[in-house]
């Protein structure tokens, strides 16, 4: 104990060079690792998306065979969800939660190191499958049986990679819960916690609750494939629908795992640049909690065409519609926070406003999808592809970008270039809509998702969408350039970077020293 206290007074990392990053137990180092990892994964998953959009630019096959196309779609989904979005949020949690609650570090620093370092192995394993005979997994990120079990060598690699990701997430989730519940500075009551911390507390519970369900499910697939069990085959008394139920029991909470931290981020940024307190703070917390609860009882909305009984369809339709209520409350509260504020439009705020508008559009298509008979037409069409990208790209990813601009000065000690930030924003927000809005129409007109080729009437809209995609992809190079330019130079940032900001993270200098809050701050009653 005394030794660790002694260590914590060192202002610098214990090792240098590569060993610093491998051995680190420092929440800031680990946060940085997570964020960099996520950035790399965004580009790998993004490169796959570029190939997909190139192939879909016109009808006929131009670049890839259907089998490889299916692998790209599957890998893109798995990498973006488990490799890009989730690690980005965990990285933000690592960096910001201790700073926001006045803790010196995460509660379980060694576990923290381990939860990160599992990830590179998991994704190396996953990506390596592309080079196996027969290639990578190709059933879609939903891994529906029996197709997913038809895969050749990649199947056990995929299952093992998912197990590793799951272990990483559960450990990360436990660490976050323990940190928030035990390490808050004196006076930081639960209700006084910043919304980002609240959102993460709830998300972490979701992670711990559902990642094991996925792990159990894929283990059942593994057993069916190698050990002769019949969980998912009717011939042996199982059912392929069991997999769909297990997967979506994990899958729907999973999509909220990817949006609740975003809600937290937006709830920090909007008040800051509105120069006005968050509207309805308490209701915001209750809304988060009820969304999290409801997210466990709506999974069937992904299975409306699977042949469930009418009573189940009705139940899942009503529960899904119900989830729109707390989601609406959050949106209204953000708008009310802006209302009669004194708005300024720095890059984080621009991304936050775009988030509110475009995430709401994703919510609209979500409500439409919840109407079961209408879902008979929308399901698995490009309409769903539009929905998921409005909530995940202009939702989760925009929130991550907003967060990066918001806290980058705190991390690096430098201001990013506001000019280039705005260029990045405007190019992104326009191209992302050119990319995804036409997909609504494609779906309504009858284009299925996960196809490498299509009937010629879908050509024009696909061309528009692909062009939007290429621009959006290229725009992210600006983002990377801004990040590295800010790490290595730029105007010095003050401790209190944003005039309208509140919270403990702004009381420490910029860049935040290697160790912060080694003596807990007092939080005013």
């Amino acid at each position: 104990m005394s030794q660790s206290i002694a260590l914590s007074h060192d202002a610098h990392p214990a090792s240098r060079g590569l060993m610093r990053w491998i051995k680190t137990t420092n929440h800031k180092d680990i946060g940085t690792l997570y964020l960099l990892f996520s950035l790399i994964m965004f580009f790998i998953g993004g490169a796959m998306a570029m190939v997909i959009r190139a192939e879909l630019y016109e009808p006929g096959l131009q670049f890839v065979n259907p089998g490889f196309y299916n692998q790209l779609v599957t890998m893109h989904g798995l990498i973006m969800i488990f490799g890009a979005v989730m690690p980005a949020f965990v990285g933000l949690a690592n960096w910001m939660i201790p700073l926001m609650i006045g803790a010196p570090d995460m509660a379980l620093p060694r576990l923290n190191n381990w939860s990160f370092w599992i990830l590179p192995f998991a994704f190396t394993l996953l990506l390596l499958t592309l080079f196996l005979p027969g290639g990578g997994p190709e059933g879609g990120w939903t891994l529906y049986v029996p197709y997913s079990m038809e895969l050749g060598y990649s199947f056990p690699f995929l299952i093992f990679a998912i197990h590793l990701m799951g272990i990483s997430s559960v450990l990360g989730g436990i660490n976050i819960i323990v940190t928030i519940l035990n390490m808050r500075a004196p006076g930081m009551t639960l209700m006084k916690m910043p919304l980002f911390v609240w959102a993460w507390l709830i998300t972490a519970y979701l992670l711990v609750a559902v990642m094991p369900v996925l792990a159990g499910g894929v283990t059942m697939q593994l057993f069916d494939h190698f050990f002769g069990t019949h969980f998912f085959s009717v011939a042996g008394g199982g059912s392929p629908l069991l997999w769909e139920n297990v997967f979506w029991f994990f899958g729907h909470p999973e999509v909220y795992i990817m949006i609740l931290p975003a809600f937290g981020i937006i709830s920090e940024i909007v008040p800051t640049f509105s120069h006005k307190p968050l509207f309805g703070r308490t209701t915001m917390i209750y809304a988060l909690a009820s969304i999290a609860f409801l997210s466990f009882i709506v999974w069937g909305h992904h299975m409306f065409t699977s042949g469930m009984p009418v009573s189940a369809d009705l139940f899942f339709m009503f529960s899904t519609m119900l989830i729109a209520v707390p989601t609406g409350v959050k949106i209204f509260n953000w708008v009310a926070t802006m209302w009669k504020g004194a708005l300024t439009f720095e890059t984080p705020m621009l991304f936050a406003i775009a988030f509110i508008v475009l995430f709401t559009i994703g919510g609209f298509s979500g409500v439409m999808l919840s109407l079961v008979p209408a879902d008979f037409q929308y399901h698995n069409s490009y309409f769903v592809v539009a929905h998921i990208h409005y909530v995940l790209v202009t939702g989760a990813v925009f929130a991550i970008m907003a967060a990066v601009y918001f806290w980058l000065p705190k991390w690096t000690g430098h201001m990013y270039s506001e000019f280039w930030g705005k260029v990045h924003f405007w190019v992104s927000v326009i191209s992302v809509n050119v990319l995804y809005f036409p997909m609504h129409f494609l779906g309504l007109a009858g284009m299925p998702r996960r196809v490498p080729d299509y009937a010629v009437q879908f050509t024009n809209l696909n061309m528009v969408s692909s062009i939007g995609g290429f621009v959006f992809g290229a725009a992210q190079l600006i983002f990377v350039a801004i990040i590295f330019a800010t790490i290595y130079g730029g105007k010095k940032a003050e401790a209190h970077v944003w005039e309208g900001a509140h919270g403990l993270e702004w009381t420490v200098p910029s860049p935040a020293p290697y160790h912060t809050f080694t003596t807990p701050p007092e939080v005013a009653g």
């Binding site: 009808p59 006929g60 096959l61 065979n65 259907p66 089998g67 299916n70 190709e138 529906y144 029996p146 059912s239 392929p240 629908l241 509105s274 006005k276 509207f279 309805g280 308490t282 209701t283 065409t305 042949g307 369809d313 009705l314 339709m317 519609m321 729109a324 209520v325 609406g328 409350v329 949106i331 708008v335 802006m338 209302w339 009669k340 504020g341 004194a342 708005l343 709401t360 559009i361 609209f364 409500v367 109407l371 079961v372 008979p373 209408a374 008979f376 037409q377 399901h379 698995n380 069409s381 405007w426 129409f441 309504l444 007109a445 299925p448 196809v451 490498p452 299509y454 009937a455 010629v456």
Partner: protein
């Protein structure tokens, strides 16, 4: 803020385009009105939900735009400091709730109707394979194997050098269509012999998964003779994009004539013909 205005103009045009009542022809910008009572009802639900969402969008995005314009610091330097209003919060919890109930009731009604397969007049079994459909008419012992037409098959491969525009209905043409009578309630029993497929014909308002080992049922009642096209809608392997569905709806008399003709041409109709994978 010029972009926002541009967006508004584009949005307005879009709304106009979508508000035009369906003229029977398929539009690229909306669901097809279709040719079954259920597809009509679904179209109605879709439009209702769409307009309600537009209404909510107008209010929410209107408020955001107003705020952006009039509550920016240069115009509104002193922020208000209110941060709650119980009445308002109750109102915007309850009103969405009511709106959702308004949508849920008709949706539930249509759902119950769509899933009621009782009192059907005819049954067709639909079986998915990698990658073709089999249609079985138990009453007449007819078995149809319906796969991607050669006209598309030749064009589809990588580097085929042929243009998808050189054939009508690229990827939406089959060797043998499913032929159905109009005006009858037809029960479809849908299943699969290998992986999960999904039988989706937008004009019929039908999408139902074909699960291996399980049988799903759904019904259609086609109101208009014609040719209706769709395709498999559950990723099912290499040939997933090459599993089109074509339904030819004929008046009852012509349908019966077709049945007779098919049975004459295929004296062994009952015996299944060998299945091979139609790799394009």
């Amino acid at each position: 803020m010029k972009y926002r205005r541009l967006l508004a103009a584009a949005g307005a045009t879009l709304l106009l385009a979508m508000g035009i009542p369906p003229l029977g022809a398929r539009t690229l910008y909306n669901l097809p009105y279709g040719v079954t009572p259920i597809s009509h009802a679904i179209y109605g639900l879709n439009m209702m939900a769409f307009w309600i969402m537009c209404g909510i969008a107008a209010i929410v995005f209107g408020a955001i735009t107003w705020s952006i314009i009039f509550h920016r610091r240069s115009r509104h330097p002193k922020p208000a400091d209110f941060h709650e209003n119980t009445a308002l919060e109750v109102v915007w919890t309850i009103i969405p709730f009511i709106i959702l109930i308004v949508m849920a009731i008709p949706a539930a009604r249509v759902l119950i109707r769509a899933e009621n397969v009782h009192h059907s007049e005819m049954t067709v079994e639909v079986t998915g394979y990698q990658w073709l459909w089999r249609y079985t008419y138990p009453r007449w012992n007819i078995n149809i194997y319906s796969r991607l037409a050669d006209s598309s098959l030749r064009i589809a491969p990588l580097n085929s050098g042929l243009s998808p525009y050189s054939t009508p209905h690229y990827l939406h043409a089959v060797t043998h269509p499913l032929v159905l009578p109009v005006g009858e309630k037809i029960r479809l029993l849908i299943t699969s012999k290998d992986v999960i497929h999904s039988w989706w014909v937008p004009d019929l308002g039908v999408q139902m998964d074909a699960n291996p080992g399980l049988v799903n049922s759904i019904w259609v009642k086609i109101l208009k003779p014609g040719i209706y096209r769709g395709q498999c809608n559950q990723i099912c392997g290499w040939g997933h994009a090459y599993m089109p569905i074509v339904v030819v709806a004929k008046p009852k008399a012509q349908f019966l004539a077709w049945v007779k003709q098919w049975r004459q041409r295929h004296p062994l109709a009952g015996a299944a013909s060998p299945v091979s994978n139609p790799d394009p």
